[in-house]
């Protein structure tokens, strides 16, 4: 498969009145369409900064990011960005939350609305469409947030510690839900996490970053294939081997 996304020699330096901080240094990698990538690294290493460059929220100091041959230089509708916790608006019902992105982009067409309805039905939220976020479980809320992101049909999904606000059990289950939904919608995903089990169980490749300024310390191929159960794989020897490699790399 050809290159879908290419991150080329990304450098990111932050300027503050106190001085400058280099967050990311010469990071390059490519992603194929439909691939799931995890970026892990010690906390504060600049992995979130890297993701916000790919999202176009931050512009890199040096280097470029190409998505399907087009250069990312600003917020575009190509990338769907999901942040820590679901960020649903408590004053909007589930349906209204799901169409928020379409509303902002003024794309509330019949076609897009029926796509949202279809997603809500497919992922068990249709009967809750008139409920408010406060009455839903953490897992359901995360699914709504995902549908809100998918509704605008992004080419690429970016998850920044998207599950870290959830308790352990919900987190594992939501991870499986999100994995299955994204695979069945044939999405390409890059996620940033500090949770090694999450990275190994949910992706095709794990990119380990070093301490700040972040450089790629190692790339680990995960051999589970697309049709996997992200909970069940955690009991395999291959999982433990991958986990150990990532763990060792991060501890260095």
């Amino acid at each position: 498969m050809s290159v879908f996304l290419s991150v080329e020699n990304i450098n990111l330096t932050y300027q503050t009145p106190e001085g400058e901080t280099q967050a990311v240094k010469d990071v390059s990698f490519t992603v194929r369409e439909g691939e799931f990538i995890s970026i892990v690294g010690p906390s504060g290493c600049g992995k979130s900064s890297l993701l916000s460059c790919i999202a176009g929220v931050t512009l890199p100091t040096k280097g470029r990011i190409m998505l399907e041959g087009r250069r990312i230089n600003g917020i575009s509708n190509d990338a769907g960005y999901m942040l820590q916790s679901d960020n649903l608006m408590p004053w909007r019902n589930i349906y209204k939350n799901a169409v928020l992105g379409l509303e902002i982009q003024k794309k509330l067409t019949d076609e897009n609305i029926s796509y949202v309805r279809e997603l809500l039905k497919k992922y068990g939220l249709w009967e809750f469409r008139n409920s408010y976020p406060a009455s839903l479980s953490g897992g359901m809320r995360q699914r709504v947030a995902l549908i809100r992101t998918l509704a605008v049909r992004p080419r690429l999904l970016l998850l920044d510690e998207a599950f870290s606000a959830l308790d352990y059990q919900t987190r594992v289950n939501v991870g499986r839900d999100v994995y299955n939904i994204l695979r069945s919608e044939k999405q390409t995903m890059i996620m940033v996490t500090h949770d090694i089990p999450e990275a190994v169980s949910m992706s095709d490749r794990v990119i380990v970053l070093s301490q700040r300024p972040a450089v790629i310390a190692k790339t680990v191929e995960i051999p589970f294939g697309a049709q996997r159960d992200t909970v069940a794989v955690r009991n395999t020897q291959q999982y433990r081997d991958c986990y150990d490699i990532v763990w060792k790399e991060m501890s260095m």
Binding site: I75, N87, Y132
Partner: protein, 267 residues
């Protein structure tokens, strides 16, 4: 008290009883206070000519009610509502402006702090000279007192809006106005009402202060006039009436808040 609650019924019963007890004690406090006041005045322990008494206030009220008390109340309430509305609307737009432009907000910050701490009543003579002695001066005073507080409180709320929610709409490409519309405004409905509740009281303060300075009608006028001619019954009655009015207006805003939060915010 036993902390173990056995049934739902028992629990509700305890809640109800506690609520009733609080209410009962509140009523009793008022009754005891009024009775003590009345008895002290009746027996001559205190001078009713100086401190009035509940019965004298009641008879003054009925006497005044037959003449022009309603007009005075109408003036004060009307001026307060107009001043409150102008202060809130103006303050809201100023706060939106400050939120919209970081530069303007940073430039304005020290001026806001100074204006906020300035006792607005000191502006009384200036206001009279500038807008004329009359209702407009009273309303201007009410606005002067409530405006800056609204601006400060609202812009504080706008700045404290959940950052992640804002980034979420931004990631969909929302412009600044859309961020305000979709996140900042609905997020700050409780803050808005909090400031309304403070402001209705402040506007009343402004109106009374204004009426003290220039007026031909209103409860503030009544208090000043009655004080000068030593009609303490009328002064005290007007003060009590003001208390009632303040309470009623606050309750109206508070009721509106409950309604709005229910309809808009679903919290």
């Amino acid at each position: 008290m036993n902390n173990t609650i056995y049934t739902r019924q028992q629990y509700l019963e305890i809640i109800r009883k506690e609520k009733n007890t609080v209410r009962l004690v509140q009523v009793m406090l008022v009754v005891v206070f009024l009775a003590a006041w009345e008895i002290a005045a009746y027996t001559g322990v205190i001078d009713a000519f100086i401190v009035s008494s509940p019965s004298r206030m009641v008879s003054t009220f009925f006497l005044m009610a037959q003449s022009d008390l309603a007009v005075h109340i109408l003036y004060t309430v009307g001026e307060t509502i107009v001043g409150f509305t102008i202060g809130v609307v103006l303050g809201f737009f100023m706060a939106v402006g400050l939120w919209y432009s970081d530069f303007v907000s940073r430039v304005a910050a020290p001026f806001l702090v100074v204006t906020n701490s300035l006792p607005k009543i000191a502006l009384g003579p200036v206001i009279i000279v500038w807008v004329g002695a009359g209702i407009s001066a009273i309303i201007t005073m009410a606005v002067a007192i409530s405006l800056i507080v609204t601006v400060m409180e609202l812009s504080h709320g706008f700045y404290a809006t959940d950052k992640n929610m804002m980034v979420t709409v931004q990631s969909f490409g929302a412009d600044k106005w859309q961020i305000f519309q979709k996140v900042v405004m609905p997020y700050n409905i409780p803050v808005l009402f909090q400031s309304l509740k403070v402001n209705i009281g402040l506007s009343l303060v402004g109106v009374i202060a204004g009426e003290f300075l220039v007026s031909k009608a209103g409860l503030g006028y009544l208090i000043v006039y009655a004080g000068q001619v030593f009609k303490m019954d009328l002064v005290m009655m007007s003060v009590v009436l003001l208390g009632f009015i303040a309470f009623l207006m606050y309750s109206a805003v508070s009721g509106l808040e409950k309604l709005a939060v229910k309809i808009i915010n679903h919290i």
